[in-house]
Structure formats: C-alpha cells, structure tokens
Symmetry: C2
Subunit: 438 residues, 2 copies
C-alpha cells in the first residue's frame, strides 16, 4: 500500500513538471530587455545596456584597427602605398587624400578629418557615417538632409555608425535605414521587407558598402542600379546620364570614381554569395561569451580571426588562408598591370590633345575608352577585398580594363597621327615586372 | 549433463570460428588474379580478365563521347566552332585540322586520321596514343622510338591507350611509363617513386596531359619544365632555346603551339589541387558494382556525371554545376576578347612588314609580343577545362595575353609609323560584343 502511494505521488509530480514545462513561453533568443530603447535612438551605448556583448565587441572597432596584407583598418594612405593612384586620381580629391577606411566607430572622426571635405561639401557625405541618420532622415526627409551643407548638418550629428543604422529598436530585427538603398532596391522591383533574415545579414551592409553618386544640384544620394549592379550596368547608367565625377586634367576625360561597391561585387554570382553566405557570416562571426552565443560586432576582415570567421564552415583554415593569399596576390599583380596600361593611355591622350590637327572623333573615342577602363579598374581597386569577394569577376573586369586602356592609348595615337604615343610604361620583356610588396 | 555438453560444444565451435577468422590473410583490395599479366602487356583485354569492372568502364571511352558546353569527347572541330582559330593557327597544321580529343580508346584511330600527320611525322606522335608504348620504349629506347618515322612505327602499334600506360602488371600500382615525364620530373629534382598513391592519381595523367615539344632533329619528346611549369616559365624555356613550332605567315613571328597542359595548369596552386584532389577523383570517380567499389575507368568530364564526380565531396551538386557554368562562361568571354586582340596584332604586324622603312627593332618587339601573347592564350585555350581547373590562373594569364597582344599591335604601328594600324576589331562601345553560343 505504501509502495502504491509512492508511485502515485511520483507520477503526479512528473505530470506536474511536464505541464509546467509545456506552459513555458516559447524560448526566445535570450533577449530580456533591461531598458526600453526609443525608436531610431542614435546613442548606441543605450542599446548596449540591453546588448552588452554586441556593444562591447562593436566598441572594439574604435581601436582594433589592424591591417591585413592588402587592406585592414589602420587607415593607411592608398596614395603612399601605390603612387600610381596619385596619377590616376589627378585633379580630384582622391588624388590628394585617399586613406583606407578604419573601423566603424571611427567613421565620423575620419569623414571630418579628410581633406576631401570643404565648404561646398553637401550633407550627403554624412549618409554613411552616423547613427544619427535614421532619426534625421525621419525628421528632415532625405532630400533636405542631402541639400544641407556638410558643415551645417554636422551640428546635429554626434554619433558614429551604430546600432540604429541596421536595427529596429524593440524588435532588433535588421532593417534597411538608408532611403537611397530602399529606392534602389525598389527600382529593381525588390522589397527588402520580404527578405529572409540571412539575406538581410547581407543587405544591411548595402546601407553603405555600395557604389553611389550625388544626383543633381540637390546632391540626392542615389545608387546607380536601375540597369543592374554589374560594372557594365553601372557604367551604362552613368553614360546615359552623361554623369562624371571630375574632368581628368590635360585629357578632359569625364571620369567616374568608384566608391566601395562591396555589395554589388559580392552579389554578382560570387561563390560565397551563391552558396548562401552573408556578409555577417564572415565579418561578424558567431562567438561565445560563457553560454551566450552572439554575432561579433567587431566588424573586420575575416583574415584577422580566420579560425572564427572561416572556421564556421571550413575545417581546414590554414588551407583557406593560403587560397586567399594566392587569389589576392594574382589579382594585385593584374590590378597593377591595369594601372600601368591606364597611365599609358592618359599620357597618350594628354599628348594627343596638344596636337593641332588632332582627329576629334578618335580623340573622343580615346577619352571614352579611358573613362570605361578606369571605372572598371576602380570598381576592383576601391572594393575592399583585393578581389577576394568574387575572384573570377575581379579578373574578368581587370582583363577588360586592360584591353580598353590599351585601346584608349591606340585611339589617342591614331587621333594624333603619332605612333610615338604608343610607348609602353612598364612591361619589360618576358616576365611581368616584379611587384613591390605592398 | 546434456545441457553442459551442448554449451561446451557451442563454445568450442565459436572459438574455432574466431580462430579461423583471425588467421585469414589481411583483406586485400579484393584483387584475386585469375590470369597472370606479362610485364607491359599491351593488350588491355588480357588485364580485363582480372579487372572486369575497370575494363568494362574503360571500354566505354570508345563510344561514350558526349559533349559538355565547352568541351567533351565528340571530337568536334575547334576551327568550325571558333573560326578565329583558323586565323590564329594560319600556316600551321592546327589551322587546317584541329578536332577536340575523343575518349581514350579512340586515341590511336584519331591520331592516324588527323590531317596533321604526313610522311615527315616522327614516331614521337605515337607517344600518347598507345598501350604498346611501354614495351616498345623498353625494347627500343625512347630516342630510337622518336626517330622512327610515324608510318614505319605504326606497323608495331595496334593498341590504343590502355592499362599498361599507367599500371604495373602484377602489383597494379600506378607508375610513370612515359620516359619524357620521368626526365622532366628528374630535372626538377622530383622522384615519382616516392610519391603517395593520391599524388600518383594525378601524376600518371601527366604521362600525356602536358605541354611538350620534340627536341632537335631526333624529335626527342621533351617537357619544357626545367624552369618551372607556369606559363611564364615555359615561355622562358622556349625563348632561351629560340624554339618555335612554326612561322606565322606574313608576320614571320616564330610561334609556339600549346598542347594540352592540364597537369601544369591544374597543379599551379589551383583550389582543388591544393585541397589534395587528384585528377582521378573527378574524372574517374569511385563507383559500385554490387559490393565492389572501384574507380570508373570511363575517363570523362565530371560534368557528365556530376552526382558521382562532384558528389563525392560536394553535397550541393546543383550549386556546383552552377559555379562551373558561371566560371566557364566568364573565361570563355575573356578568351574570345583575347583572340580579337591577337588577331588585331597579327593584322598590324602583317601590314607593318610591308612598309619599306619599317623600324626593325620595334617590329621585332611586336613579333615577340605576339608570340608571348598567343602562347599565353593557347595555354588556356588548348587546356581542356575552359579554365575551370584553375580559374584565377586562367583569367590572370588571359589578362596578360590581352595586354601583350595590344602592345604587339602598338609596336607594329610604331615600327611602321602608321597609326592606321591601330584599328580595333571587335569592341564596339560600351559592352563586350555578345558572344555567340558555342
């Protein structure tokens, strides 16, 4: 009788525990808000109260500014590292001051420090630099924001890039905050609110890591994606608008400057993108703090922590690092060969322009070829992966750029009836010239 | 008592079975020879008695001659498919008759049928076509074999490629049978007898799938590897010898023809090679016949059975096929652009040669650039993977080839004081010309 009683008590207890467990709310991702965050709150430290791990890692972007072989976050000068770029950007701000980007927390400091900013600079230049933006766009509208002079708008901006640039307060879901991105996606019939979370882990980076231009007198931030996001589409878009960033001195070529088209380049059928890998998978890998698993917000090159970043998918990290090196070395060499070809074209066009009976049609063709070649090269050069985000695309584009640059030189020589303009700058026989270490 | 007896009998029986099993010879790879195969036996059907699965699959290479998008084994004409190659190989046998290789069992038939063979052809041309070779090399020595006229040597050759080209009878281990390969490896300080089996599953393919030339009057089969196996090394080797395959008509360029440098191209730090993948892993994947697992000897493109070939490592075969297509399409486009550039160079040099006061130094530079550009292009064009064996290497080499071809054209125009030679054949503005489907 006592035995039966014990069994009954135990059974009742077990049923009770099971009912208790069943009635628990479904497990969330461990999010227990301590404070409420206002919509579009610019101050990331407030979000950091609820998300101490994300905030602690994000703050590392202020100081963890290490370089990799070809890039990184030290803010090195592209012009000092590769003096060819002084020639390639002559007559434009980037020919005077062109430093590599540092970590996200430095964005505001660095945009204010660059010598490319002056009293004519529009507010548009803050579009990618501050967590104040979503609230300001909401309040002012993007058109007014962009029209406001940089110096004037600066008074309302005190935060670097932060939580509000990618997250919705409360739900913390990833959102597109840059209206220019929303408009560009819309023009291509894409609605980001229907995207999967994994796709958003790439698309939020396109809030900034894209090719863009300032449209019209109002300097309205616009992504040139209406015809597509391949380099050929982007150039066709700019050509149709007769848009140029500057005139090349002595050649009068209407030039284009590429910004940082990581999104366009990576999503152009790259192997990682096609395999479903997002930007965040490699640049914000999952890490642990005790029992908490979270996405590191110390956004940086995967090469700085390959075991964490590459090791989430690849078991053979040493092999992977070797692959990256092989690929980047090849692309770097081809990129420099392209620069030599473009510089030869510039030299020839500059000489042709001075010839009294120069053929105007041929000269104009030479300019167009120069414009097209240099924008192709810059699409790869300005993109922050030395081609690794999409190696075949990089080399395909550089091969085209070399071809067009040499053709520009040839058209210039033809226009000037001057074969003497066909001198070749660097190639010295059998082997490509040894490349100086970066 | 009866019960104890039964237990004792059962226990003894069990022990007996265990002892029997323990004393069995260690399990071999299932090889139980039915007949003894003579050393270097040319007739594969004899080997086939011992290895019916391997032999049955190998025989499929006679008739399983299906094409892929860019290659395959139907024996299609490169000249009909891409008429630019008629120009590029003008004045040489390959400009008259250039068919893609069919399966291994057709090698002998096809070499005898090609219009490139005539009464002057040396025996060397049989080096990659017959399982008679190992025994003949053993008997005659390679020097005498190579010197014997093709027609005369043919009387001693009745077998296509077969077992004896890669296997040692008896042990069935993979061996280097082509003495030219052994000598080429030796010149680079490599001893194939120390290689792992996995490495041999690549190296035996280099018995034939390599760049080679016929050295000297004796037409001695030689691989140009002494300086390395990259295209730059190969060209440097030929330049040092002042070797050429033919003179280009009307330009007098001493030209080089690439053969089928699969081994050199694949082993140049390609991603699959660096990951330890052998040729046989993809082209001779493991298959099953009942309980027997064996390497299919129906050697062919992995694209013809991707689930078997790619699926041994990749779980996402549809994704993999898509990658191959993306990569090959890009490389094909860049390869055609390279051909256009080389043809422009040829046209310019042909015109320059006719100019009475042509500058001889510049003209010679143009020829050298033409030679170097076309051999780079051919290294990719003749290689049987439309660049897929090593995509970055393919695009890097094509970018260099385009650059050198355009420079050749420029030097020709300079030599002739004639900017009119700078016409560009194909590029027609913004976009690369649409590429006709192969």
């Amino acid at each position: 009788m006592i035995l039966v009683g014990i069994i009954v008590v135990l059974a009742a207890g077990l049923i009770g525990v099971l009912i208790y467990l069943k009635n628990q709310p479904p497990q969330t991702r461990g999010f227990q808000p301590l404070v409420e965050i206002a919509a579009q709150e610019p101050d990331s430290s407030k979000w950091g109260i609820n998300f101490p791990n994300e905030w602690a890692t994000f703050q590392k972007t202020a100081t963890n500014n290490t370089d990799t072989t070809y890039s990184g976050s030290s803010g090195f000068s592209h012009l000092l590292r590769d003096p060819r770029q002084v020639i390639l950007f002559a007559g434009y701000g980037f020919g005077r001051d062109y430093n590599d980007e540092r970590g996200h927390m430095n964005a505001l400091t660095d945009v204010r420090a660059t010598k490319r900013v002056n009293e004519k600079t529009p507010g548009t230049c803050y579009s990618c630099k501050s967590a104040n933006n979503p609230a300001l766009w909401n309040e002012m509208g993007m058109a007014k924001y962009d029209k406001t002079p940089f110096v004037e708008l600066g008074a309302r901006i005190d935060q670097p890039i932060g939580c509000a640039n990618c997250h919705e307060a409360g739900t913390m879901r990833l959102i597109v905050t840059n209206l220019a991105l929303e408009e560009a996606l819309d023009a291509r019939g894409m609605d980001w609110t229907t995207f999967s979370r994994q796709e958003m882990r790439t698309v939020v980076c396109a809030n900034c890591h894209v090719e863009y231009y300032f449209a019209g007198e109002s300097k309205y931030l616009t992504f040139p994606w209406a015809d597509g996001t391949r380099i050929e589409d982007v150039i066709a878009y700019y050509d149709a608008l007769a848009f140029s960033d500057w005139k090349y001195p002595g050649t009068d070529t209407p030039m284009l400057k590429a910004q940082h088209p990581e999104y366009e380049f990576y999503t152009a059928a790259s192997t990682h993108y096609n395999a479903g890998v997002s930007c965040a998978d490699c640049h914000m890998p999952y890490v642990r703090d005790g029992a908490m698993k979270f996405s590191s917000h110390d956004v940086k090159s995967p090469l700085l922590e390959p075991e964490l970043a590459c090791g989430q998918c690849h078991t053979d990290v040493d092999y992977v690092i070797g692959r990256v090196k092989t690929i980047q070395d090849e692309i770097y060499k081809t990129k420099l060969a392209t620069e030599d070809a473009i510089i030869d074209a510039i030299t020839a066009i500059q000489a042709a322009v001075k010839v009294s009976d120069v053929g105007p049609v041929l000269l104009e063709e030479a300019r167009t070829l120069h414009r097209h070649a240099q924008m192709r090269w810059d699409f790869i050069s300005a993109e922050n992966s030395m081609g690794f985000h999409n190696p075949e695309e990089a080399l395909r584009i550089l091969a085209d750029a070399i071809n067009l640059a040499r053709q520009a030189q040839m058209k210039a020589a033809q226009s000037a009836h001057a074969p003497s303009l066909l001198n070749i700058g660097v190639y010295d026989g059998m082997h490509p010239k040894p490349v100086p270490a970066p």
